[in-house]
């Protein structure tokens, strides 16, 4: 069984997935931006989360699903009662085999570059922070840089400069600075906390800032 199969089956280690909401609160405490979101347990609740403003996203959270978009567990770009109602119905049906699960509603973040920022505990060296090309490209290109925590701004910039996709992810000094700031915060949070693994994937870089739109935090 490969790592993916193991991960999706939830086997293999004692690590436990932290509640999304709790995890998002921790990000907030370190000043790490993430898309505003809330659990919804009905189509109506999803509609009221939308509140007739802009677009929202609905997605299924389950310990059994690491690849949400590939498994069809994300519904993007929902901007009407009908769209939200239909999407909620589709997701509930798909998720029935992934119990226990929750459905989360999230503000739609504008298009941008998708990256991954994460943390891992290396058995030899300790806590490490990672940055790379994210979203669906994580596995396809395996373009990432890694460093031992904690890192400072200069080390964060070095990591970014190591990426093959550096000119896409951080095409100018300002965007590199924004990303470096995020990496320093994540390294600090991961160093301080009692975590074994962390994925912020994707983090969307857009309009001179960023938002983490999905996260997995494991104790």
């Amino acid at each position: 069984m490969n790592w993916l199969a193991r991960a999706t089956a939830g086997e293999g280690s004692m690590a436990s997935l932290m509640d999304y909401y709790k995890a998002r609160n921790i990000l907030g405490r370190y000043g790490i931006r993430s898309a505003r979101s809330g659990y919804v347990s009905s189509a109506d609740a999803a509609v009221s989360f939308w509140n007739r403003k802009g677009k929202i996203v609905l997605k299924v959270l389950s310990g059994k699903a690491l690849h949400k978009s590939r498994m069809g567990l994300v519904e993007l770009d929902l901007g009407s009662e009908e769209e939200i109602g239909a999407a909620y119905k589709r997701l509930s049906k798909k998720a029935s085999r992934l119990k226990p699960y929750k459905i989360i509603a999230q503000r739609m973040i504008p298009d941008g570059i998708e990256i991954i920022v994460g943390g891992n505990v290396d058995p030899q060296f300790g806590k490490m922070v990672l940055v790379g090309l994210g979203g669906i490209y994580v596995e396809a290109f395996k373009d990432f840089a890694l460093a031992l925590c904690p890192i400072d701004r200069q080390e964060a910039l070095k990591m970014i400069s190591e990426l093959r996709s550096k000119n896409v992810i951080a095409p100018d000094k300002k965007s590199a600075d924004v990303l470096a700031g995020l990496l320093v915060k994540v390294s600090k949070m991961f160093s301080n906390g009692n975590f074994s693994e962390l994925d912020l994937n994707p983090v969307i870089l857009h309009d001179g800032t960023y938002d983490a739109v999905d996260l997995r935090m494991l104790r």
Binding site: W3, L4, R6, A7, G10, E11, G12, S13, A15, L17, L66, I116, G118, G119, N120, D122, P123, Q124, F125, G126, M128, L130, G132, V138, E139, K142, F144, A145, L146, A147, L148, Q154, E155, L157, K158, S161, E162, E197, L198, D199, N201, R216, L218
Partner: protein, 461 residues
């Protein structure tokens, strides 16, 4: 004490060889023979329970305890099951350091025996290198515990490179290679199972050793990750540490629950730590020697503008490609240099980078081109391509390159390839302290390693 003191092992005044033999071909004989061959200046005490009177002319002892004189180093080469008792005897005889050459411990699954060995060494607080290793060499001090006969493996000349290898085979073959390269060795340490003295102790010792200018490390793993990193922070600021790690673990071999953990496998972690803490990472065993010789001989440089001077057009083009592909830049000569070159070069020479001084270039042209280009403020380092197949490229041309490179104003690497005529000139150049590479690609990789390390040391990205 945080780190083991390796001085008694590396620079002993007296050596006991436990398991000494008077039969040629035995390990316990080769070790003593080597001490004789390399001209060790201290005392030698052969020890063997068989009770020889003498081994190779030296008075022999039944036990190390019978010597009754100070012993700095004991080299133990007896069957595995007898090693622990020998170590305990060394403890009683107040031996200051031990090298255990014998194998048959953790490397064959006998961890219990290795645990006993560690306990014995710790009981008397003796630094112990091995087991299952070749031991150590200090070329200046003429200390040599290797059991490889000098006629089979050449001993490198004295120099500033210290080479450390967990593996004995990588150690001995690379050592043999080093001796054929034009640079010298300070110390060699093969540390095998790292049961007591490990890479952290060795890195600390060599980082503070004045004779060592460059450290070259082959490791298969690190025992104490956190201490290794802590020490590396200061060690890599003192001198370049070229490193290669053998043994790749498959990506994400552990049970990962996240993309991050799946990507950040053990090999990736090593690579990241090497990069982050200023190691010079070698990708291949050849890199170890390529990098070692540029670091030993050339001054540091943080600029990336490389000037290429060549007597072969194609090689200049390939070298230019290599320079760009490795993230370095081709230098653009200043107007003043261009004018000066125009005055001395014949009309067939195009005054631009890469500077092709022509297939008929002689020593005068090599000398003039190098002299002018090396003084150009737009040039950070130079690659000299000398193809000795052409009529004008002779010993005088080689000497011209040597003369200029010896000034060490800017780093110079030479690229040259060919058979016997070339090789004799390559040797001449390397012995003068200028590194020579067989391909533009290798020359460029070495330059890049030098530049990257110099930038790390200066705190530049």
């Amino acid at each position: 004490m945080k780190y083991a003191d390796l001085k008694p092992i590396m620079q002993p005044k007296s050596v006991a060889v436990i398991g000494a033999s008077d039969k040629p071909g035995k390990v316990g004989n080769a070790i003593i023979q080597n001490y004789v061959d390399v001209g060790f200046q201290g005392e030698i005490y052969p020890v063997n329970i068989a009770g020889y009177d003498k081994v190779l002319g030296y008075k022999a002892y039944k036990s190390v305890c019978d010597v009754k004189k100070p012993i700095d180093l004991a080299v133990i080469s007896v069957p595995a099951e007898a090693v622990v008792d020998c170590v305990l005897e060394c403890g009683r005889a107040k031996v200051k350091g031990i090298v255990v050459v014998s194998s048959g411990f953790a490397e064959v699954g006998n961890t219990k025996l290795q645990d006993k060995l560690v306990a014995a060494a710790k009981r008397y607080r003796i630094p112990l290198i091995g087991p299952n290793c070749l031991g150590v060499m200090d070329t200046r001090y003429r200390n040599d515990t290797l059991f490889l006969p000098t006629f089979k493996i050449s001993r490198p000349k004295i120099g500033g490179v210290s080479f450390v290898s967990q593996s004995g085979s990588v150690g001995s073959s690379t050592l043999d290679l080093i001796s054929s390269e034009g640079f010298g060795l300070s110390k060699f340490i093969s540390y095998g199972n790292a049961a007591v003295v490990d890479e952290v102790d060795i890195l600390n010792y060599l980082a503070h050793d004045d004779d060592t200018k460059v450290i070259v490390f082959y490791i298969e793993g690190v025992n104490r990750g956190k201490e290794f990193v802590e020490l590396a922070k200061s060690a890599t600021k003192l001198k370049p540490v070229v490193i290669i790690k053998g043994g790749i673990t498959p990506l994400g071999a552990s049970a990962a629950h996240s993309h991050t953990a799946a990507l950040a496998g053990s090999s990736e972690a090593y690579k990241a730590v090497f990069r982050q803490f200023g190691f010079v990472r070698a990708e291949t065993l050849e890199d170890l020697t390529y990098f070692a010789k540029i670091f030993e001989t050339q001054p540091p440089v943080t600029g990336k503008r490389i000037a290429i001077i060549t007597n072969g057009g194609g090689h200049g083009v390939i070298a230019t490609d290599a320079v760009y592909q490795s993230g370095l830049e081709l230098a653009t000569l200043s107007k003043a240099t261009e004018r000066a070159l125009r005055k001395v070069m014949p009309p067939i020479v195009n005054i631009r980078m890469p500077l092709d001084i022509g297939g008929d270039a002689d020593s005068f042209r090599f000398s003039a081109a190098m002299e002018l280009v090396s003084q150009d403020p737009n040039v950070d380092a130079m690659m000299m391509i000398i193809l000795f197949q052409t009529p004008g490229a002779d010993e005088k041309a080689a000497q011209a390159v040597i003369n200029l490179a010896s000034k060490k104003v800017k780093p110079v690497v030479v690229m040259s390839s060919g058979s016997s005529y070339t090789q004799s000139h390559v040797k001449l150049i390397e012995e003068s302290g200028v590194p020579v590479y067989e391909s533009p690609d290798n020359a460029t990789r070495a330059l890049r390693a030098l530049i990257e390390y110099s930038r790390y040391k200066e705190g530049l990205i």
